[in-house]
């Protein structure tokens, strides 16, 4: 305390965006983690004669398609929330975030159903390990996104977010768009291009 009144305040516009910029940098590192998982996927694929290996049924595409729809709705809801907060529209912020979070939870539920419907598991072979690992980390990522949305919701209810204080919403939204794009890549390589 002693020192605090001695120091002069800083008027720095950059400070407000710390959270957003932090989220973007963090996303870069997460993409590299994701790339690590996928490098292993491709390495294993190129080294094996058949992919999926013989005797492994191709996973059903129904649930992932459903999840793609869920993810799309969720992304739209997040866009609504982000636009809303910029215009000081608290209802759009709260409703949008709530729908996005609910869709996130639904996505996780569908994914858990998907795990139990797969004809293989991570201990079956390298294909199974790699397939499930990518999905599990995606579910964890979605979970993290939902937790952040929870924080956004709490702070929105407390009235702490508005047009001039919205770095948290922006960071949350950027992270959620990142998750959605990763899901498209996952969906493409693990299901469509399999």
């Amino acid at each position: 305390m002693e020192g605090r009144h001695k120091m002069q305040p800083i008027h720095d516009p950059m400070r407000k965006n710390l959270g957003l910029f932090g989220a973007i940098v963090f996303i870069v590192s997460e993409s590299m983690f994701f790339m690590g998982l996928f490098l292993v996927w491709f390495y294993l694929r190129d080294a094996s004669q058949a992919w999926p290996p013989l005797g492994i049924a191709r996973p059903n595409i129904a649930l992932p398609v459903l999840n793609t729809v869920i993810m799309a709705i969720s992304t739209i809801a997040m866009i609504v929330a982000e636009r809303g907060v910029a215009k000081n529209n608290q209802r759009a912020l709260i409703n949008g975030t709530a729908i996005a979070a609910a869709m996130g939870l639904l996505f996780m539920t569908v994914m858990i159903m998907e795990f139990s419907s797969l004809g293989f598991n991570p201990t079956t072979n390298a294909f199974g390990s790699s397939f499930v690992m990518v999905l599990v980390f995606h579910v964890l990522r979605v979970f993290a996104g939902v937790v952040i949305m929870g924080v956004v919701l709490v702070r929105a209810f407390l009235g702490q977010l508005n047009g001039s204080r919205r770095a948290l919403v922006q960071a949350c939204a950027v992270y959620w768009y990142f998750i959605a794009s990763i899901w498209l890549i996952v969906f493409y390589f693990l299901y469509i291009r399999l």
Binding site: V25, M35, G36, L44
Partner: protein, 557 residues
């Protein structure tokens, strides 16, 4: 930032204050203190290794302990000393001050990184130490240490060949350490991007800060890939996944070296930054070719991501791919050479203040050059086919990482400790330490080049007397103890002159520094600067000191 200062009114004990601090300077000090402790510990393991190898057929330590010792020596030096000391210690303490900020962008996350690092380090070393004690006292083998070497090649590191829990502990420790480092890198990048003082454009960034940014970028891009690999190995061992059971052994090697080659630059670039700070200050001259130095730093970081498979020239990688990696590896010598010449020409024509920090920097240039040159040898595939995994390699990377990073760290300590504690270290002891360390270092590692050429593989616990390796090994062991003695001198210096307050009072700017850390008090107040300074060149303090000179204060070439 409500978190900057802790209310003194509450009179919390000093311990609680250190444990809960979010001040970048305190966090930096804890990083440095802890990393230095790991340095001592890993160094003692090196002494055990060198004692065992001093003569053929020695059985000072058991083969089993030897294998754990070199594993933990390497892991400790890399993950618990060099990286956290330079990035977590120097980086945390000095980068915000150098750019005129009052703290890191995310002080709480900074504290979280620190304590995650502490926890990871504890996890990694504690099991090993327990095993060591259990072995020595005859309680039997607890199996809590890893003995798979720091690169943990599969299949040796899988459950089938390393069933002991120590391997899992090691994996978890490295993973957590990596997460801590990644968060730290995010923090560094956001801080430099957002919190620079007015006027501090890219080309005016201090060299240490610049190298720290490039390092942070490398950590950010490389570490998560290793983390992914570590997690796969961990699940293979514990949950029966099959990543490494059917894949060829090179898959792990690719993942591992994709991180671990850049890790070399993560360890050495900030040290290069440190000496790039010291040289112009002690030469009373601007750094020679600032832009070339900055660009070459970035180039090294960039090229550093394209050379990893040079560690796999004898692993069975496709030969055409090998040639690509040979090319990139040899190319990286060019920006490295640029740096060396720029440093020398910073001194050239200067007015050299021959104090310990400058001597350590000269030691850095001298020894690092040898490490760099022998790196080119190892980058040539045919030569690597002969010398891969030999003592030649051991010597090469010690010339880079000890001759580079450790000399840089000690240079940085002599340079910056007066700022941190407000008192000077003894320059006399410093110089004795420098000469002993330089002599001991070359005595330890130069014979190892010869051992490599004589065909001695690394990671062997003992050797036969008929190989002609006796004398170089003995010299090397004597050298290792000389280094240990020189480090002891540093500790004595620190204890007497800083802890014991025998050192001269440093004042704000004992060296006629150039960068903003010398503008504030020693030690700096919690908020670093009363008013945020405005920067007009890459040497803001020089500008202030020479504001009234009409001659060559700002002279251009």
């Amino acid at each position: 930032m409500a978190s900057i200062s802790i209310p003194l009114e509450k009179r919390r004990s000093a311990l609680v204050e250190w444990l809960t601090t979010v001040d970048h300077k305190k966090i930096g000090i804890v990083y440095m203190g802890l990393a230095f402790t790991f340095f001592i510990f890993s160094g003692l393991l090196a002494l055990a290794i060198r004692t065992q190898l001093a003569a053929p057929g020695m059985t000072v330590i058991s083969q089993e302990f030897y294998n754990q010792a070199f594993t933990m020596h390497g892991t400790g030096m890399i993950f618990l000393f060099t990286i956290p000391f330079l990035v977590g210690g120097f980086g945390n303490y000095f980068m915000p001050i150098q750019i005129g900020a009052r703290d890191m962008a995310f002080p709480k996350m900074n504290a979280f990184s620190l304590w995650l690092f502490v926890f990871a380090g504890f996890v990694m070393e504690f099991g090993f130490m327990l095993s060591m004690v259990a072995n020595a006292t005859g309680w039997g083998n607890l199996g809590l240490g890893s003995a798979a070497s720091w690169n943990a090649y599969v299949p040796y590191s899988t459950r089938a060949f390393s069933p002991q829990a120590g391997m899992d502990i090691w994996l978890i420790g490295i993973t957590l350490n990596g997460i801590s480092g990644t968060l730290g890198a995010v923090n560094i990048l956001v801080t430099v991007y957002s919190l620079r003082a007015p006027g501090m454009s890219v080309w005016r960034l201090p060299m240490f800060t610049w190298t720290l940014i490039t390092t942070a970028v490398m950590i950010l891009l490389a570490t998560p890939v290793l983390t992914a690999g570590l997690m796969m190995l961990t699940t293979d061992r514990n949950f029966n996944t099959q990543f490494f059971t059917t894949a060829d052994p090179r898959m792990w090697q690719h993942v591992f070296w994709f991180y671990s080659h850049p890790a070399v630059y993560i360890m050495v670039l900030p040290a290069m930054g440190v000496i790039s700070e010291i040289l112009p200050v002690f030469s009373r001259k601007p750094i020679f070719g600032l832009k070339a130095l900055m660009v070459s730093t970035a180039l090294i970081a960039l090229l550093g991501f394209t050379t990893w498979a040079h560690h796999m020239f004898v692993s069975g990688v496709n030969p055409l791919i090998q040639r690509f990696f040979m090319f990139t590896t040899m190319l990286i010598a060019v920006p490295t050479g640029v740096k060396i010449f720029n440093w020398i020409f910073t001194m050239w024509g200067g007015s050299l203040n021959m104090k310990t920090p400058l001597m350590m920097s000269i030691g850095f240039i001298s020894t690092f050059t040898i490490g760099g040159i022998t790196g080119v040898f190892l980058g040539m595939i045919p030569v690597d086919q002969q010398l891969h995994n030999s003592y030649y390699v051991v010597s090469h990377f010690h010339y880079v990482l000890f001759g580079g990073s450790v000399f840089g760290i000690f240079g940085g300590l002599y340079y910056w400790l007066p700022k941190i504690y407000g008192r000077m270290l003894s320059d006399k002891i410093g110089k004795v330490q420098f000469w002993l360390m330089l002599f001991g270092f070359n005595l330890t590692f130069f014979p190892q080049y010869i051992l490599g050429l004589l065909g001695m593989p690394r990671r062997i616990a003992t050797y036969l007397p008929d190989r002609g390796w006796d004398i170089p090994n003995l010299l090397s062991s004597i050298g290792a103890f000389t280094i240990a003695f020189s480090v002891l001198l540093f500790i004595i210096n620190f204890v007497i002159y800083i802890v014991g307050r025998k050192g001269e009072v440093a004042g704000d700017d004992p060296w006629e520094g150039n960068t903003l850390e010398w503008m504030t008090q020693s030690p700096p107040p919690e908020y670093n600067f009363k008013t945020i300074p405005v920067v007009h060149s890459e040497r803001p303090l020089w500008d202030i000191r020479h504001a009234n000179d009409n001659t060559n204060a700002h002279g251009k070439h």
